[in-house]
């Protein structure tokens, strides 16, 4: 789980996260016949975000195919295929459109190994484009990671850059266990210089993205760039903020996160989802439980409000931006230290 690995492709190139994901699918399919990709519009169209672009053309329509429009059907069929020797990678078109599959995910995907005392494992990946920032309409911008993270039996990972997208998706497909792979859709088109052959930590490891000494920002997925930008602004104002990117929500990398927080003594969790009973709550809780006496101030949250995700013109109100993050940092009782 915590091992690092090279992934075959070597050398630096400029890639978007969407392209990196497509590359990961392509490589996994080429390497392993049992990897199959299906969902709504993933065939000829290549998915509404083009993540599966060209896969049907390259591998044929038994390896990458469109299904009837039914998410429970997609996930349920994937369960059966995984039971019978395949490694299905299914796409849910948007976050809120995975909800029809919720029973299959919680009652079967998450529990099959447990139910059968490991006699049946389900090596499958459920890809879910999630979160806001693209001006999407209702039901297209939910941050739904907490539902899955709260469900024992699922791995939940979410990349924040192209290299991780590639590395983590490769690892998710190779995993013997089901992985809910949450793709921050607002980062799909961010182009980056990446080395797909680089050795990167796998599922279960967080990474410190920026060193800093005054406080630690803990973020994942779409909030990592926000945290990095906030750290940049803070630096100009003379405050040194460290940024940790979780990468993997389940398993959670207590080691890296706690070491980081202990080194600064202050922390802010940044996440888009409504804060109540969320992944951010968990991070605050576990960091506090584990680092209490290293903390100079309570861990703060710069998170989404407990409201349904707003329409495009108001989404900026909901999304934690640099200002909300820095407000939370300001709140860390600096006068007491």
């Amino acid at each position: 789980m915590t091992s690092t690995a090279t992934t075959g492709t070597v050398g630096h190139e400029k890639l978007t996260m969407a392209q990196a994901l497509n590359r990961a699918l392509r490589e996994s399919m080429a390497e392993d016949d049992s990897v199959v990709v299906f969902g709504e519009d993933v065939g000829a169209l290549g998915g509404v975000f083009r993540i599966t672009d060209g896969l049907t053309a390259e591998f044929g329509d038994t390896r990458c195919f469109d299904t009837p429009l039914a998410e429970s059907g997609i996930v349920g069929m994937a369960v059966g295929m995984a039971m019978n020797g395949m490694r299905p990678v299914v796409e849910m078109q948007f976050d809120a459109f995975a909800y029809p599959a919720f029973e299959q995910i919680t009652s079967h995907v998450a529990k099959m190994r447990n139910r059968t005392r490991s006699k049946v494992s389900l090596p499958m990946v459920i890809r879910i484009p999630y979160a806001g920032g693209i001006g999407g309409v209702e039901h297209h911008c939910d941050s739904s990671e907490a539902y899955y993270a709260h469900t024992p039996g699922l791995h939940v990972v979410t990349p924040a850059n192209a290299a991780d997208a590639h590395r983590l998706l490769r690892a998710a497909i190779a995993s013997p266990d089901p992985v809910v792979f949450m793709e921050p859709k607002k980062l799909y088109w961010t182009k980056e210089e990446v080395d797909l052959g680089a050795e990167l930590p796998g599922i279960g490891r967080a990474m410190v993205r920026r060193e800093g000494t005054d406080a630690t920002l803990i973020a994942y997925g779409p909030s990592v760039p926000v945290a990095l930008e906030a750290a940049e602004v803070a630096a100009q104002e003379g405050r040194s903020l460290q940024v940790v990117d979780l990468r993997s929500i389940v398993p959670f990398d207590d080691e890296t996160v706690c070491a980081a927080v202990r080194s600064t003594g202050r922390a802010v969790v940044v996440a888009e989802a409504p804060g109540f009973a969320s992944v951010a709550s968990e991070i605050v809780a576990r960091v506090t439980e584990r680092c209490f006496h290293s903390l100079a101030a309570p861990v703060r949250r710069a998170v989404g409000f407990d409201i349904p995700f707003p329409s495009p013109k108001l989404e900026h109100v909901q999304l934690p931006g640099v200002d909300r993050v820095l407000d939370a940092v300001d709140d860390l009782q600096w006068d007491l230290s």
């Binding site: 065939g43 000829a44 329409s311």
Partner: protein, 363 residues
Amino acid sequence: MTRDLDLLLPSPHPVELIDPTGQTVAEAAHELPDDAALLRAFAGLTTARRINDQAGALARQGRLAVYPSSHGQEACQVAAAQVLTDDDWLFPTYRDTAAVVIRGVDVAEAFLPLQGAWHSGYDPHRYKVAPQATPLATQLLHAVGVAHAARLRGEPTVALALCGDGATSEGDFHEALNFAAVFRAPVVFLVQNNQYAISVPLARQSVAPSLAHKGIGYGVPGERVDGNDVAALLTVLGTAMARARAGEGPQLVEAHTYRMQPHTNADDSRRYRQDDEVAGWVQRDPLTRLETWLRQHDLLDDAQLAAVTADADQLAARMRTELARDATPEPAELFAHVYATPTPQLVEQAAVVADELSREDEH
């Protein structure tokens, strides 16, 4: 039993009353609607087409966040609105904005979500039009509930619930038809089979003889109709509504039509279908066929056409003016409409936002 099956199964061919060339279909099993209804439908078709054209233009100009056009499906849009009485409820999808407007919803209110300003812009109770639904097939169950509640109170309401061919694959479609049947709820389900669910053609969606054949599995009569023939739609839907209103239970109607444009303005339909397929459907345009028929029957002359067109022009002008305005509600509303009374948590959070915004204003 045999008789039962005949009542439940659709007729062997989709009902068509006016053919694509504008001629009355000989020996049709159903009667044509009366002249007034057809003239009203023609005005509706003209309006619907104009709404699609104007909204498409506004989307291209970036004045709408997105627009799923019903170009080609206007006959369904018009018939769905026209068969309703004031007591009836309409349950539209994201693609049915034209039907919503023809039902009477103010165009500025109807387009608010497409401007990106709020999820729904009109008062559903005022117009008896549910919010346009995005999660596929979910609204069909709401229609059953509205209809069942009305029936329990002895009200004459019928709910007309719309969905697409793709949506018929969702579990909620199944549950809605079954609940409606078991409770004999006054609901008419109109499936606009426009041949595609985004990129997925009907053949990958279903291998049933037709979508209307699904009805029998619930004990619900199914019927197929040429979805570009507004006359046939008015007759078949009108009969279904009357039947439901009379307490005879739900009905399933499948309309064969075609989505002439991409799924939304953001879609690239050349990735999954050929131009000549689209061209074939131009020959079946719902407007031209009714116009031909009306002219042949001396029910429409140039002056009348000009009047109808002028009305549509006026609506389009209103769209341009109204949709140029930014009608986005205050951020505070985000916290006001989660519960009837905001929770203490939301009161705190609203204050955070008020503070953030006031400091932004200072800058």
